[in-house]
């Protein structure tokens, strides 16, 4: 579930407030939004795709928060991984959309299983 909004990266654009399908965030008058309803988070990672500042961190555990340490997460280089690998925004020309390969992978698995 959603764990962090990294304040020094956040530009307070409130895009996450808009795009979160579970309405987890709440905007504030000045500054970054807050994680107001973490229990409603569905761990879909979608907010990270839309955060061009790479300021959001969704923990992979959907059952409970793992209390991610902001310094550790920042140092890990994992912020923005989803947006980068998806080739969104500035990554467009460097990370191609290879979804079309999926069916060949399934085909190889079926051949393997025979």
């Amino acid at each position: 579930m959603i764990e962090l909004i990294v304040a020094e990266r956040c530009t307070a654009c409130d895009r996450c407030v808009e795009v979160c399908p579970s309405n987890v965030f709440e905007p504030t008058a000045a500054g970054p939004p807050v994680i107001a309803r973490p229990d409603d988070c569905q761990t879909c990672f979608m907010c990270e795709l839309y955060c061009t500042a790479d300021a959001l961190y969704v923990g992979p555990n959907a059952d409970h928060a793992e209390s991610a340490d902001q310094l550790v997460v920042l140092a890990s280089g994992l912020l923005g991984q989803y947006r980068r690998d998806s080739g969104w925004d500035e990554w467009r020309d460097r990370y191609p959309n290879e979804q079309w390969l999926m069916e060949t992978v399934f085909r190889r698995a079926a051949e393997d299983a025979r």
């Binding site: 795009v19 399908p21 579970s22 309405n23 569905q42 979608m46 992978v105 399934f106 698995a109």
Partner: protein
Amino acid sequence: MSRADWGEEEGLVADVLVIGGGMAGAWAATAAAREGAHVVLVEKGYCGTSGATAAAGPGHWWAPPDPPEARANAIAQRQRIAFGLGEPDWMRRVLDETWRLLPTLAQYYEFPKDDQGKVRNYRALRGPEYMRALRQQIVDLGVVVLDHSPALELLAHADGAIGGAAGIRTQRGGSRWRIAAGAVILAAGGTSFRSHLLGSRNNTGDGYLMAAEAGAELSGMEFTAAYTVAPQHSTMTRTMSYAFADYFDADGRQIDAPFGPDQTERLAQALLAGPVYCSLARLPEDVQRHLPTISPNVMLPFARWGIDPFRERFEVTLHTDGTIRGIGGVRVRSEDCGAGIPGLYVAGDTASRELVAGASSGGGNVNSAWALSSGTWAGRAAARRARRVPASFGGLKALGGAGLRPSGRARPASAAEAVAAVQAEMHPYDKNLFRTGKGLAASRRALDAVWSDLAAHAGGEGGTAALALREAAALVASARWSVATAEARTETRGMHRRLDHPALDADLTVRLIASGFDTVTVRPEAIAVPSPFESVA
């Protein structure tokens, strides 16, 4: 009910109202707008990120018209796993619509091209990009999109025809909206019964509840026993890498669960006995390298947990897909996806996919093609109806029952407890995947009690509390229809597995139609006479 508690009400008028902004809803809005209709689309979350489509990578069922045997083969192949419940005419229509329509999205979706500049394929799309493209397409077509605006109930004219819906704005303090429309399309998705299936939290079966309150029936609700593997505690129910998975028990002994049709059952059996660990070491090295650019979200949990899935074993679980990679939904009554109630249409997972999927999971290809096609047909038909039947607020009656308007005295009710009760009956492998008459009867009694309580006492709340109760009511109702039809289907067919009836019963090559709330009834319905086309199979 006191209106004052709910604050000012927002009123809108549309030709066509679409409820739900996933793949089916967005294609429905596209089709209706292209017919010239003024369309409003209301979405519980955000149209673009919400729903099962957005977080997945929908591959569409696909066969070009040329060579001619391509479609016949695709249909014959599907018929082999449809176990007598598929209808070739519907399959052919879906294949054709999908093939025509998907390439038209090229203005908004960048279909990858090969070195010669030729599109590699139109059928495999990434969810987030697909939904972003569909949103842009409907916005450009003039569709009014209301995000964070779940529908809570349908509105009907005195003659029963559906003429709109009412709901709330979750980002405006739960204030109310009411929309009058010439026709309404329910595209609110299916339900995973609140499992951790990726992207499915908003999918609480609201479309089933609202349609049934209008008088529609459900079909195929017994086919909810689809399950998908995911790393323990994660939502990452994406299947591709697991086609090469090996599984082990706590002692490191390999579990006999090879890639194939029985894999889920074998894994579920193993999980009932103890923890199960997975190795992806057999995933070919080139696929390992490309995995992040094939399915960018699959590696996220591993990277964040510091697991190297190709070298280390990790614990896995199975999440219920419910009707999302399952099949059941609102019974489709006409070729244009009418629900049998004037003014009401159904699309995507809100509709039963038995017609095209039969008794086996429609995930992986058929479901997406169905969402696109059914959305398109419903959108066109709704727009045409709206030309004849203008929207009007006059005499509209609200149809919402359980969770909104208690039949008895309102008292505080816990939506969370009702949801937990549904999860307790619909998630466990030894209840919903391996079914028995006795177990189903116990589930029925448990869920009946929850329903009686909700229907009698829950309601009278405003804002987001009303939404939570409606979601709970929809989940309980959906679970009850599923359990009742599973009890009635005393055989094993496709994903419906009865331990006490392990064989297929030819007499049960029928649809099971469920309806009702306080009393659920199930009746068999003969399948439309197979078209001559089926002889190809």
